[in-house]
Assembly symmetry: C2
Homo-oligomer: 292 residues x 2
């Protein structure tokens, strides 16, 4: 087991200009590396504003292959600063086959893993089923220079099954690049409980699995002034018992830092041995839609 390492979570606003978003992301990775981060995770689809607020076939132009222009730039940044980078990319796999993907770039710039979002939402202002076909790469974890990491994407964060499968593959940290916000009309009434549910479900994955969990969300309002989405930030890192050890604001661009200590994973799993007592002989029906 490798030693401790420092994680940096980059919480950004996005502009309508992909080149601007990418260049600012590179700057933030550089800043995080200078700040001591050995792994940097960017938010979901950081290269653009959250285009899924509407269905428009022209927006498929935003997609690109992996490896491709964005991961090439980030791989060079990773190599130059010797930092692992987790990057969310709108992936064009073929004409008509697009994914919402997360690439893991090791500290030498090599592309070590791609994950394609499996759980795809479709709700007003989150029309993702139109853009993204579900992934077919399972729920991977991969070895990097610092340790074994997993990355899922946003809506996946509500599914204990997905987190468990990453944990069973040995991930020490599970990252969730995210784009979740409040509808301005709902914020006053429901905003607090929405944010709290989002934070709670992800902390629960840390607890259930004895691993670190990091969520990286965007900030800022996008869309029409009286509508659209106010992305609620609140990026955080929690330890293997769900204790939040670093947390960002709801409205500012920030980099938050926290340390992953494999000894803490060992300690928590010895004292709360949930993985020991899983009753795998009783879980077969989890592949059922309902039991009715």
């Amino acid at each position: 087991m490798a030693g401790k390492f420092t994680i940096g979570l980059v919480q950004m606003r996005c502009t309508p200009h992909p080149k601007d978003n990418l260049s600012r992301a590179v700057e933030r990775i550089e800043e995080a590396a200078r700040g001591g981060a050995q792994v940097v995770c960017l938010q979901e689809l950081f290269g653009s504003q959250y285009f899924c607020q509407r269905e428009d076939a022209a927006l498929f132009d935003l997609a690109e292959p992996i490896p491709g222009p964005t991961t090439n730039v980030l791989a060079e940044t990773a190599r130059r600063h010797q930092v692992v980078v987790i990057a969310s990319v709108f992936e064009r796999r073929a004409a008509g086959v697009y994914h919402n993907s997360a690439a893991v770039l090791d500290a030498d710039g090599s592309l070590v893993s791609v994950y394609r979002k499996t759980h795809i939402p479709d709700d007003p202002l989150y029309y993702e089923k139109y853009y993204f076909t579900p992934g077919d790469l399972g729920y991977p974890a991969c070895d990097t220079r610092v340790g074994r990491l997993g990355a899922l994407v946003c809506w996946d964060q509500w599914y204990p099954e997905a987190a468990r499968l990453v944990a069973l593959r040995g991930a020490q940290v599970l990252f969730y690049p995210t784009a979740i916000g409040w509808r301005p009309s709902e914020k006053e009434r429901h905003g607090r409980e929405q944010y709290d549910a989002w934070r709670t479900i992800q902390r629960s994955h840390a607890i259930a699995n004895g691993m670190y969990v990091a969520a990286v969300n965007r900030v800022g309002h996008e869309g029409p002034p009286k509508g659209g989405l106010e992305f609620f930030g609140g990026s955080f890192l929690c330890d293997p018992f769900g204790v939040v050890i670093a947390e960002a604001s709801h409205d500012r661009e920030e980099i938050v830092y926290g340390v992953c200590d494999p000894a803490r994973i060992e300690e928590v799993r010895r004292n709360w041995p949930f993985l020991r007592d899983r009753r795998i002989d009783t879980y077969g029906a989890l592949t059922a839609r309902l039991i009715d």
Copy 2:
């Protein structure tokens, strides 16, 4: 779908005298019924002090069949007060085959469901693997006069798989009779995070599944004055989005009440349609011990 109903959670101390514990439990059910409860849940193994703090073959004498003396008394109480009762019983099934079980007694006194604890802990002062063989009745949900209910037991509460399977069977409320406490030597340093992890993981089951979750824990110190366990109470009911709507203290006997509203389940599941998007084609490996 049935209408709203009121839940009462009975948080008690236990004495070394089973008859005393049973008679006080009956009084609390009566009090809860007078207070408006239509479903009352008792804590785990309310009939005795938490005997699993040591391994002693003589303590198997505490066990009894289901139906048996305890469920007969509670069935009569349920019938007399027209209230559903969820009761945790140390079940003797045969010589050498004992379970930690939860019985659901309908408001007419009929025994409608038995669940046998599946995930069995074994940790210092929680030597349950010595006493309880794992259940073989799956993860049931059952129809009662008020609605469809599920009951798991204590250590099960740390397993998202078990909660999901009860939800897939249509439970509106999932109850967890519990006996969890602080070791006095650890309380100051770890007590707060232990309680918070316990509360968080159960709230997460409500969120992931869009159902109400109720945890019912005991209070009081049991065992040698300088050792033993201080059961931390904190019994609570949360709604299908994880919002805590009723919560008990850490140190007092109490009955806490809350309302289960099927319309709230409907509302939450329409707006956060997690069950719609489960990717059941990708969950097969959940029956693996590890993926290595």
